[in-house]
């Protein structure tokens, strides 16, 4: 049968639908965003007006933006590290054929199907100073009392938000690491056992190197996701107390949709994109990820 342009040796034709979607939903919005960053919406004239580099100048002199960037970086670092370490630890524990472990592995997906905004609402209640179960437990152990509301205390609020993120997304890391662990060959482990290697040595010298690609991919995916985090702070703290939990995403949403600063909002989101690209590519280079 003659397929003409649809023959297998013409991959471009097969890729056209995907390319079209990419252009429509990614490339064009990106170009529009770049264009928008050189304009600003004038509410009383009801039109976008060209402002040159004003938005970019404002971006670098905006102390709130730098503060939000600092908060985002801190959040990104802590949450990513905790989810990585905790995810790996739980994956190692569950990587065994013990009674009930299969069930445990299957329920790991449960947190992932809950929308982050709902998780935010849950933790808003869990951490409430008056009614929250976490506050209650911490009070029993004498760690914290009602007079120090977690989400309304500058030094604690971001940790309170992180808790929601870690609870929801650590199982994602566990699942990826578990899949990786289960695909590892058994021979190196048998050799290590014969050589008398300790469990830690086996993990450091065999498991980690063999899992490096899996870890790299998980880190990249979660890292990008964490950097864009919006839902939890939106629901739980609105960026407060003060500006303690303002992330770049929340700040750019606020500028765009609450204050009708379309151009500045676009500039902030482009800046966020640039930072993510730089960090991701640096990571790919340093971790020697090969696709």
């Amino acid at each position: 049968m003659k397929l003409g342009v649809l023959s297998a040796d013409r991959p471009l034709v097969w890729m056209l639908p995907l390319v079209a979607m990419l252009v429509a939903f990614t490339i064009i919005p990106l170009i529009y965003n770049i264009w928008l960053s050189f304009h600003e919406y004038a509410p009383f004239r009801r039109r976008l007006e060209y402002v040159g580099f004003e938005n970019w100048r404002m971006l670098f002199s905006d102390s709130r933006m730098w503060e939000a960037l600092g908060t985002t970086m801190f959040y990104f670092t802590v949450v990513l590290l905790v989810e990585l370490v905790l995810g790996m630890a739980i994956a190692l524990l569950l990587d065994a054929e013990e009674f009930g472990f299969g069930f445990l592995r299957s329920i790991l997906t449960l947190t992932l199907v809950v929308p982050p905004a709902i998780v935010g609402m849950m933790y808003l209640l869990i951490e409430d100073a008056e009614f929250g179960v976490l506050t209650y437990v911490l009070e029993i152990f004498g760690i914290l009392d009602k007079t120090t509301p977690i989400l309304a205390t500058g030094s604690l609020a971001l940790w309170g938000v992180m808790l929601a993120d870690i609870w929801q997304w650590t199982p994602f890391m566990v699942l990826i690491f578990l899949a990786g662990l289960r695909s590892l060959p058994s021979e190196p482990y048998e050799a290590a056992m014969l050589d008398g290697a300790s469990a830690f040595m086996t993990f450091r010298r065999i498991t980690l190197p063999l899992l490096s690609k899996v870890i790299a991919v998980a880190t990249l995916i979660r890292g990008i996701d964490i950097f864009r985090m919006f839902d939890y702070v939106f629901v739980m703290t609105s960026g407060g107390p003060g500006t303690a939990t303002y992330t770049l995403s929340l700040y750019s949403w606020q500028q765009t949709f609450s204050f009708i600063k379309w151009g500045y909002g676009a500039t902030l989101s482009l800046f966020t994109l640039v930072i993510i690209l730089v960090i991701a590519n640096l990571f790919i280079a340093l971790a020697k990820v090969r696709w």
Binding site: Y41, P43, F44, R46, L48, L124, D128, A129, E130, F131, G132, D145, K146, T147, T148, P149, I150, L151, A152, T153, G154, T237, S238, G239, G240, P241, G242, T243, A244, Q254, F257, S258, F259, I260, W262
Partner: protein
Amino acid sequence: MNDSDKKIYRAKVVNDYVLGKMNRRTFLRNASALGLGAGVLGTGMVRPFRSFADSQSPLEPSADVLAWVKDVSGPFAGTTLRLATESTPPSNAINSLLKHFFEEASGINVEIEVLPLEQVLQKLTLDIASQLGTYDLYYIDQSWAASVSRDVFDPREQIAANPDLAMPDYDTDDFLTALVNGISLYEDRWVGVPYDIPIFIMQYRKDIWDELGFGAPETLEQYYEQAKAITDTMGPEVYGATGQMKSGHYSLECDWTAWLWGHGGSIFGPDNRFAGNDEAGLAAMEYWDRLHATMPPGVTSWTWDGQGQSVAQGVAASMMSWGEFFPYFDDPNATKVSGLMEAARCPKPKALRTLAETGFGEIPGVGHQGGSSLAVSRNSKSPDAAWIFMQWATCYDTQVLITALGGGTGPTRESVYDDPRIIANNRVGAGTTRHLNVVRETIAKDMGSEPDLPQWAELSNDTIPVRLGKYFAGEYASAKEAMDDIAQATDKIVSG
């Protein structure tokens, strides 16, 4: 029958009567057995206002009004109108209970998106900027009125421009003048008509107040002393006061203005510069600090929702806040305080600035209002159909139904307060209207309105509440430092 069961049964009886499921004779017999006086029927106060309105009328839209809707909607049958609105009692009542009457009569479909306030603003600004006319009607919080004033029709102009589509007896003069001035008027234009009116009133636990021998607080200082006494004697189980003090949230700004205005301060001075850092402003902060100490610890993480819950669950004994909560407090199925709450006017301010002593049309008053308007978008593709719907949604008859069925929200029309169907709901139970006299008096005598300026959305949602949040999180050395910081940021934004 124990007290709780009695309250639930009492509420059910009154609800059945109000909804027309029980005749007057049976109701009176039950009411008498339950110890309800004739006052629950408003029998001493009822005065017929309009021919079609009396306490025996079924709670359905007036046939005259629906006939008018049918008459004028012919050319627009099949049109679909869209409105994005906050989840407020009027919107919820229209959406779930009343809309279908309009749709059946008019043949016009109405899609109402009920969203959090921030998302309504997002939809509205997107629609204005794109000029796509996705939404035909705008729900406009009073703090946005200045920003969108040019994007909606002035209803008076609509009436004049198209008399054929004007509802007979729509009567724009019936909207409470204070609300028109405080919510819908920007410069000389009406930015829609007043649609709902959440307003600060004093709501307190009558049982606790009685137990401690207190009367309703008459001054702010007396309120503080009462709140402190309750916290001292009943805390930490029950606190004397509560608040809506979540950092960075509009609710915190609302709370602040009540204390600021109540101490003779204002947000702006006549020179249009921030004035919250003057002597009166700092006195308000000093008072607020003291009152804060009488509130539950979690108050700095609550918006109005948390504030309402703290009263509903019996954790706090009073709040000076939105009157819309009152009918909810009386719901025996939802709260622990049904029948225990009392409404009163806010305590008298220590001093009050006049309009001339403030800037940007700010009207100081302890009864902070957070009302909103409903208007037809200039970008609407079906402005006439939208105008018909808007008139129906805000006319006298529909407002009565909204108030009676929609949970006792404060009407924006003078006449609705006197409607027998509204007075009949003046009893303990879900959707009570027994607080509405206080609401009406507050609108007339105590109402405070925020300034009108295009930058107000940013100032009230960010600049002020973020810094107040920082203050309560201990990030400023003093109230003066916090207020000076707000002054600097505000003046910079206002001067552009």
